[in-house]
Structure formats: C-alpha cells, structure tokens
C-alpha cells in the first residue's frame, strides 16, 4: 500500500511538473502583444474587434489547459494564418523584414568601429607630435634669437 501511495504521489508530481514545463510561463496578456487582430490589422492588445475577443478567449482557454506557447501559436496560425503573428514570418519575402534591419545594424556597427579606430589613430599621431623633443636651433639662429630677445626685454624696461 505504501509503495502504491508513493508511486501515485510520484505520478502526480510528474504530471504537475509536466504541465508546468508545457506551460513555459507565458501569459495571455503578454501574448496579446505578440499577436495581431486578423480583421483590424492592429496588435491584439489594442483591439476590441469580435475576432480579437475570440482570440483572447482562446488564449485564456489554452492557458487553463496548460498548453505551451509554441503549441498556442501553432493552433492560432492553423486557424487564422501567419498574419496572426505580430512578427514577420521567417520564410520567403518575410526574411527581408529580419535581414535588412540586421544588415543595417551590422553595417552601422562596422562603420562605428572603423570611425573609432580612425579617430584613435589620429589622436595618437597628434599626441606623439606634441611629446617629441624639440630639435636644437642652429648656432647662427641661436645668436640672432638671443639678440632679438635682449632687444625686446630692453623695450619693456
């Protein structure tokens, strides 16, 4: 009897764990932001159309049944088509919506890295020029410069 009770408790635990795993923590309200109203073409959470309310009710039922987010999405796509998903499909022309922003971001990042590298190179060249020791003036120039300096100091006295 004890063994049977233990097995039953274990089975119940596994069932609860299985449901929790299938559910994967999604919420109907959160998912409304990832779906589109099929009739008004706005995000589901912003729509009060009858079709949107029907999907909302379906989300609540799916949550109560413990369905995973992926399963809910599959069922919605089977009923309403890909257009029910707010994110563009990952096939055909839908790829363009994913790839073009990614390409622009990658290009922007590359440009930023290149500009930063150029700026740093320019800065270190300037700094090296300032730190370099000054070459001594030629002897003839030194005499001339000393005479010029003496003359200007006399003018101030």
């Amino acid at each position: 009897v004890r063994l049977a009770a233990l097995l039953l408790a274990l089975a119940a635990l596994l069932a609860v764990a299985g449901t929790a795993a299938a559910d994967d923590g999604w919420t109907p309200i959160g998912m409304e932001q990832e779906l589109m109203c099929p009739t008004c073409k706005t995000r589901l959470d912003l729509s009060h159309e009858p079709a949107a309310n029907q999907i909302r009710a379906a989300l609540r039922r799916a949550k109560a049944q413990g369905l995973s987010k992926g399963e809910v999405e599959r069922r919605l796509v089977a009923d309403y088509g890909e257009a029910v998903l707010a994110s563009p499909p990952r096939d055909g022309i839908g790829w363009a919506a994913w790839l073009i922003p990614a390409a622009v971001l990658a290009g922007g990042a590359a440009a930023a890295v290149w500009l930063a590298a150029r700026w740093r190179a320019g800065r270190s060249e300037g700094s090296a020029a300032l730190d370099a020791p000054l070459a001594p003036a030629p002897a003839g120039d030194r005499v001339r410069l000393e005479q010029q300096l003496d003359a200007e100091l006399e003018r101030f006295e």
Binding site: A51, Q54, I55, Y80, G81
Partner: protein, 186 residues
C-alpha cells in the same frame, strides 16, 4: 583593396537598392483581390480565383474546380460575425431552394477558430459544405468583411458580388436574378 569608406558607401547603396526593389515588387504585384471585385462590379465576369480548402467538418478538401459545371454560391463568413448569424437562416433557405435547382453552395469560414466555426454551423443548422480558409482565398477574392457572397456561373466566372448579409428584399432580389443568370434551373 577598396577602402572602408568605399565599402560603407557600397553597403548603403545595396540596402537602398533592396528597399526600392521591394517597393517596386509590391507595386508591380498590385492587389489582385481588389481588381477581381472591381471586375465583378463592372460585369466583366472574371474567372473566380481557384482554391482547394479543407472541409470544416469531415475529411478532405473542396476545390473550386469540383464546382465547375454547375452554378455556385460562395459565402465568406466567420463565427464571431453577428451579421453572419443574422444571415444564416436565410442562407439555409436559399441553399435548400436553389440547391434543388442545381446551384451548389459553399461556405468559406475565414479569420476564425475552427471549433467555434463548427459550433456556429451546428447552432444554425448549416447543411451545405463548409471549408476553412487561413486568409489566402479571402485575400484573392478581395473580401474585406463578413459576410460577402459571390455567385459563379457553371464555368467558374463570377457574375455577382454581395457585401453584407443577404437578408433585405433588394439583396435577395439581386441574388435570385444572379443565380438565374448563372444558369440555375427554373
């Protein structure tokens, strides 16, 4: 080797070219559904866009090709649509009356959950074939709301289009004239 500046310029031009290409493709593709509805409205009798859709109840598909040879009525509807519920008894009556005269009725459920659609069909005692569309057929017929109904002749050409429920006398008179014109037996 090309400089980084040149590469960036080439990248920007490529992105711009892709965007212009997408815009051009979209413009070139146009809106075949709207063109179809417009042609029906002008009385041009355009060929109805083909489809093969799964039955809402039972197994298998219903294809437009299987309807050719007889006049047919395609009714686009959804279970959440109140005017569709209002229209359902009238549509059942028309399907019974014109079905005996060789007209085939097909209900195309779209933008709808299938369990709710089946419940709607049971609740309203719909007996003609019902299919489920995930959007493609609705789009190709230029359907923008529910219910909408098309009358096709025996060669699959659309001769009439109705927006809204077939419940008022004027719509019903137009519908009856259209199914007669489509080749329904007298």
């Amino acid at each position: 080797m090309p400089s980084m500046k040149r590469l960036l310029q080439a990248g920007a031009v490529a992105v711009l070219a892709v965007l212009i290409g997408l815009l051009g493709w979209q413009l070139w593709r146009g809106n075949p559904g709207a063109d179809f509805v417009e042609a029906v409205g002008k009385g041009e009798r355009p060929a109805a866009p083909s489809f093969a859709l799964p039955r809402l109840r039972g197994e298998g598909d219903v294809a437009l090709a299987s309807l050719n040879g007889r006049p047919s009525v395609l009714n686009f509807w959804a279970s959440w649509c109140d005017p569709c519920a209002e229209e359902a008894p009238e549509l059942n009556r028309l399907a019974g009356e014109w079905g005996r005269r060789g007209v085939r009725f097909v209900g195309i459920d779209a933008q709808d959950a299938r369990p709710e659609a089946r419940a709607f069909a049971t609740r309203h005692g719909v007996t003609y074939p019902l299919v489920h569309d995930t959007g493609g057929t609705m789009k190709s017929y230029g359907v923008t709301g529910f219910p909408e109904t098309f009358v096709l002749d025996s060669s699959g050409r659309a001769i009439a289009h109705f927006k809204g429920p077939l419940t008022d006398e004027e719509s019903l008179a137009r519908f009856e004239a259209a199914v007669r014109e489509a080749g329904a037996r007298q």
